[in-house]
Amino acid sequence: MKSIREQVAAWARTKSPWIIHFNSGSCNGCDIETVAALTPRFDVERFGIVQHGSPRHADVLIVTGAVSKQQKDRLVRIYNQMANPKFVVALGACAAGGGVLQNCYGVLGGADKAIPVDLYVPGCPPRPEALIDGVVKLLSGIKGVENAK
């Protein structure tokens, strides 16, 4: 049994995911879709999703694109700058496993080669609906994640 304090905290966490978007070597297709998802048309504020510029404020790190060897250090640094509890969404085929860029000489592979990833959203690029669906699924799964830890 979780205490009331933990339950309230878990409720708040699922209702207020603040995201930060990081491009780890994407072709820019996924980034355009991420930005499109933040426009008034999709109204992600319904779910409490707000984009924040500073990693210190954000809860969900959205990684787009295959991780290039140069970007790896930056990605890890951004991840370490975020406050616990934090979650990572790998957006697009490239972030999930390298995608079309996987055999390039400068590419390390998917985002999970550098940092732990909680959720993968497939697509090249994924539609904004897929991203919103992914973040909402991630949140409904948060309670399960908490129990597993």
């Binding site: 209702k15 984009q51 510029g53």
Partner: protein
Amino acid sequence: MEMIKELLIQLFEILIYPGLLFLFVAALLADWIDRKLYARMQNRQGPPWYQPLADFVKLISKETIIPKHAVGKHLFRVLPYLAISAVVVCIFFIPISGSLALMSFQGDLIAAAYLLSIPTMCFFLIGWTSSSPYSAVGAMRVLTQFFAYEVPMILVLIGPAIVAGSWRIEDIAYYYSANPSMMFVNILGFIVALITMQGKLERVPFDIPHAETEIVGGVFTEYSGKLYGFIKLAISIEMIVVAALFNAVFMGGSLGLEGFLGFLLFCFKVLIIILISAIIRSAMARVRIEQMINFCWRVLVPIAMLQLIISIIARAFHG
């Protein structure tokens, strides 16, 4: 027995109404109403009513990181609380539901204006202690902006004081309740006050100190968890306090109503101020810092001066 009763009443006033709890609830509600109005003006649904509460609880329950390179670690921790306590103390000078404030003395208008500038100073110091490039730039902008909007703001707050012939917020509100027609003398000043309020609360078009697209999170870049939650709360409370101050000084306070009716009127007028602020926010884009300073010094200050002259003339004829 009497003493204990008095003590309990005082505790109630400080902790519940119109003190901490009332301000907390009002700030969260105001935040939600503001965001909802903003969303509706963009033709979207907007956040649910519990959104600010969820944000606050989430931030409280998150890890709080104190950066290794922060210069004053204690200062870093204390500043958000200092900002919040300054705005909470400020509400005690302002009459809310009736014609009486919790505390009042001759000249408390100036005290309230000073208390309201303490959060700005705290935000400047916050940027300074974080010692990150983004927050340093943000801190500089906070100060520059402060010198631009504070002068017209204080100038227009003087206007009603001259007309009412008193530097007490209570007396000013009482004077306007007794002579509602005199409120129109200060209409220019009220407009200037509403514009400078956007600067004070760092909202669009004057959100230059924490412009996300330029300097990440501005002064608050390094803040996380509990401390950031309190900073956000301080800004929301500041919005309520500034609205309450304008209500008392420009809109005649409770207009002679007492108790529950007075409280309803207060809520209504604060809502109007939030609505105007949301309209300004959604209709405009961010200006550059030097445009803002030019606008404040070249447009707002002359209007405020004109308002001052009008007030003095009105006082001579009426008083």
